[in-house]
């Protein structure tokens, strides 16, 4: 079979015009009208095999490393983990006591008691290489009860929230994404401030801080719970620089995220115990 000399049935320019108009239609639908949300569920599920395949080498490497780890290293690690566990259990006793006390005090004040939150561990299966979107994909989806807008934390602090879900995957926008902002409150001075991502995992920016602010370097910022997305009291970031340049309308304040945004492996999805959205733990997976 010889290659035909004139292979193009439709001219290239027509193809390009078609492709571009389709692309702009998509951009319009997705960006202006936000009409693609239901389709995204389907699309995310469609590409999830690629994401699952992408982590196979890393998981294989991890497996290999844990296989060849020496007995001594394992014993050491075990020892370390036991100590850590003991430490945490000690703190847990204290926490339980404080929680009971808090509840008693709250009933004395006749205010609502706070419910515990339900958690589920999720593993990151893909990290976006695009600096314009700081997002990660985790291996939990609608099958596990994940919903859009769900808060996500790690061992240290707030990571971000769920922006879209597939059946077995969910996409999480990090607090460092340029389109993400989170309401916080300083643990020291109780000042409320909005922390905005700027597209860098190294630092976040604080919005609209007056020059006369009482915020100080080293202040810890906790989620304030005001936006209705993030529960109150989780650490978000710590202020590391505060520049009062009078030529600017606001003070320029930068904060380092408390969570390790650039090396997330495991994270926790949170559910409000009272809301309609509840975690679904597939029974069959455990019995299998």
């Amino acid at each position: 079979m010889s290659t035909p000399l004139f292979v193009r049935s439709v001219s290239l320019k027509v193809r390009l015009t078609l492709a571009l108009s389709l692309a702009f239609l998509l951009i319009f639908l997705d960006h202006r009208l936000d009409a693609m949300q239901p389709v995204r569920l389907f699309l995310n599920s469609l590409v999830s095999p690629v994401q699952y395949l992408a982590v196979v080498p890393e998981q294989a490497l991890d497996n290999f490393i844990s296989q060849v780890q020496s007995r001594r290293a394992l014993v050491n690690e075990n020892e370390l983990l036991k100590q850590e566990m003991l430490d945490l259990q000690g703190r847990m006793q204290r926490y339980e006591f404080l929680m009971l006390e808090n509840e008693r005090l709250r009933t004395l004040l006749a205010s609502d008691s706070r419910d515990d939150r339900l958690r589920m561990v999720a593993e990151v299966i893909a990290v976006d290489s695009d600096p314009f979107s700081h997002q990660v994909v985790v291996n939990k989806g609608t099958r596990h009860g994940v919903y859009i807008g769900q808060p996500v934390i790690d061992a240290n602090g707030v990571i971000g929230q769920v922006v879209s879900v597939g059946v077995t995957t969910a996409r999480i926008i990090l607090i460092s994404d340029q389109s993400h902002a989170i309401p916080t409150r300083s643990a020291e001075s109780e000042i409320r401030v909005i922390v905005q991502g700027v597209g860098s995992t190294e630092f976040l920016e604080l919005m609209h801080v007056p020059h006369s602010t009482e915020l100080q370097e080293g202040d810890l910022l906790l989620s304030s719970g005001l936006g209705g997305v993030f529960p109150e009291g989780y650490p978000v970031a710590r202020i590391h620089s505060l520049v009062r340049d009078e030529s600017l309308p606001f003070a320029r304040v930068r904060a380092t995220p408390v969570a390790n945004l650039d090396r997330i492996r495991m994270l926790l999805l949170l559910w409000d115990a009272e809301s309609d959205q509840q975690p679904i733990r597939p029974e069959q997976e455990e019995t299998e």
Partner: protein, 163 residues
């Protein structure tokens, strides 16, 4: 017979493209990720030069769309960029085939740079993205990896006798 050969060709092209997408989202450390070559675009450019009657602007559009979904960017950004960028390659494929590898690498550098510039402009005007110089570094790494991509892909193409 001819039909099955076409099927083989299609699946080989699709296989390499899916592999390039996997490479595009594979988790690596952030310092390395800043230099990650634009694998899907490299694959598309190769196939458009080698088999212009199989892979065309529409194919590039679809791969760009897959990249949009995988990266979670607004749908259509990468699709538009890929469609625009492969146009010169599809138009001048006989000439590009006769380029030396280094000349091709320079062309790839320019094409990836253009693709990234288009995505950046869209991000800038629609999503208020700030300018980040390191967003354009992958153009350089893509050009550096191009000769190897080209040789490996040619080997694959010859192995399956794709014309």
């Amino acid at each position: 017979m001819i039909l099955s050969r076409m099927m083989v060709q299609r699946s080989v092209i699709l296989g390499t493209v899916i592999l390039s997408l996997i490479f595009a989202v594979m988790p690596i450390t952030l310092t390395l990720a800043a230099w990650r070559p634009e694998w899907p675009l490299l694959a598309i450019i190769y196939w458009i030069i080698a088999l212009p009657h199989r892979v065309n602007i529409g194919y590039a559009f679809l791969v760009g769309l897959a990249v949009d979904i995988l990266l979670g960017s607004t749908l259509g950004f990468h699709a538009a960029a890929y469609a625009v960028v492969v146009y010169p390659a599809a138009r001048h494929y006989p000439r590009i085939r006769n380029f030396s590898l280094s000349q091709q690498a320079i062309l790839v550098l320019l094409l990836v740079l253009l693709a990234r510039a288009i995505v950046f402009v869209l991000e800038h005007y629609l999503n208020n993205a700030p300018f980040m110089p390191h967003y354009f570094w992958p153009a350089l790494s893509s050009a550096l990896f191009w000769p190897w991509v080209f040789l490996i892909f040619r080997k694959i193409r010859r192995h399956f006798q794709m014309k």
